[in-house]
């Protein structure tokens, strides 16, 4: 898989928030084989030095860093946050979130497109957190995005793919655009489903971080992503309604 000209070894992308400890986070990353870690920027007080400690931890993971604009509700806020993230993490990559609704954390499609256009003009490589809406996807691509990150379900819900039809349509409309199902996954089977549908990767955080054993869950997701991708590439059989015997009918002994 390639995004913005960079080869990404793993089709699993993992967030760094909500783990019980830095050690558990590091072990979960090791077991996941993730190639990209998402991070954020947050307020720091003088002498706190929490940022420096986290930066060391993140760099120690040995994976590409994708900063986000999580929690931003306006274009201005998202753009300023992106600039701060670019300086802090020394990368043009930005996972662009412009949230439009507090309860569902649904992206604001209008603000998202506007912010994406501004950031692309400023030299950013934008990974937009979007919905499965094909018109919105088209606008984001026109704005200069080269990857799309449609949600599976609202952030942190673990509901899986709530609009399979919509996601299938999106995938079919833009077959050559790298697409990452981002948010809403709770179980490895849901990740496998997304991969079987032809999505290029999945991004998750809560499903691993909030599992009783995050490292084991990370391993489970890694295998599911690999299994789903193999299934997609293997060209699955068509389902049918009527049974079709798999054992040959001819040659069966006549015993009545």
């Amino acid at each position: 898989m390639e995004v913005y000209g960079t080869a990404v070894a793993s089709r699993l992308m993992l967030g760094t928030a909500q783990y019980p400890s830095p050690q558990v986070l590091a072990e979960a990353f090791r077991r996941s084989g993730a190639g990209i870690a998402t991070v954020s920027v947050r307020r720091e007080s003088g002498g706190e030095k929490a940022g420096a400690a986290f930066w060391e931890l993140a760099r120690g993971l040995g994976v590409a860093i994708l900063p986000n604009t999580a929690g931003c509700h306006s274009v201005k806020e998202a753009v300023t946050t992106a600039h701060m993230a670019r300086e802090l993490f020394d990368t043009p990559w930005i996972k662009l979130e412009v949230i439009g609704h507090a309860d569902t954390l649904q992206p604001d499609p209008f603000g998202l497109v506007e912010a994406a256009r501004i950031l692309v003009e400023d030299g950013f490589q934008v990974f937009p957190y979007t919905t499965e809406d094909v018109v919105l996807a088209d606008r984001l691509l026109s704005a200069g995005c080269e990857v799309l990150m449609p949600w599976g379900a609202p952030i942190g819900t673990g509901l899986g793919l709530t609009n399979v039809y919509g996601l299938r349509t999106l995938r079919a409309q833009f077959p050559d655009v790298p697409m990452v199902v981002d948010a809403g996954l709770g179980l490895p089977s849901q990740a496998a489903q997304a991969m079987e549908m032809g999505f290029d990767a999945v991004l998750l955080n809560t499903a691993v971080a909030k599992a009783g054993d995050p490292a084991a869950m990370a391993d489970g997701f890694a295998r599911a992503v690999e299994a789903g991708r193999l299934a997609f590439e293997a060209d699955p059989m068509e389902p049918r309604d009527m049974a079709a015997p798999s054992t040959p009918v001819i040659g069966k002994a006549f015993l009545e």
Binding site: G15, T16, A17, Q18, Y19, L25, T38, V39, S40, V41, R42, R43, E44, S45, G46, G47, E48, K49, A50, G51, A52, F54, W55, A58, P67, N68, A70, K76, E77, T80, H83, M84, A85, E87, L88, F89, I155, A183, N205, T206
Partner: protein
């Protein structure tokens, strides 16, 4: 002068953003800054003058999803 630092009132003697960071104990910390909602690159902090009531945001790397 009184400014707003990360959403809370603060008092600084410094007249520039760079001097304020020093005064507030950030030293060599890995931080990024914004003044009145606009990003201020690290290289521009020394030339960025503060005025009473300015809103200063100072952020650092953190966990994220």
């Amino acid at each position: 002068m009184k400014i707003m630092l990360n959403g809370a009132p603060a008092e600084v003697q410094a007249e520039t953003l760079a001097a304020a960071l020093e005064e507030l104990g950030y030293g060599e910390a890995r931080v990024a800054t914004a003044l009145n909602e606009d990003f201020v690159p690290a290289g521009a902090r020394a030339a960025t003058r503060l005025a009473p009531g300015d809103r200063v945001e100072i952020v650092a790397p953190r966990q994220g999803g």
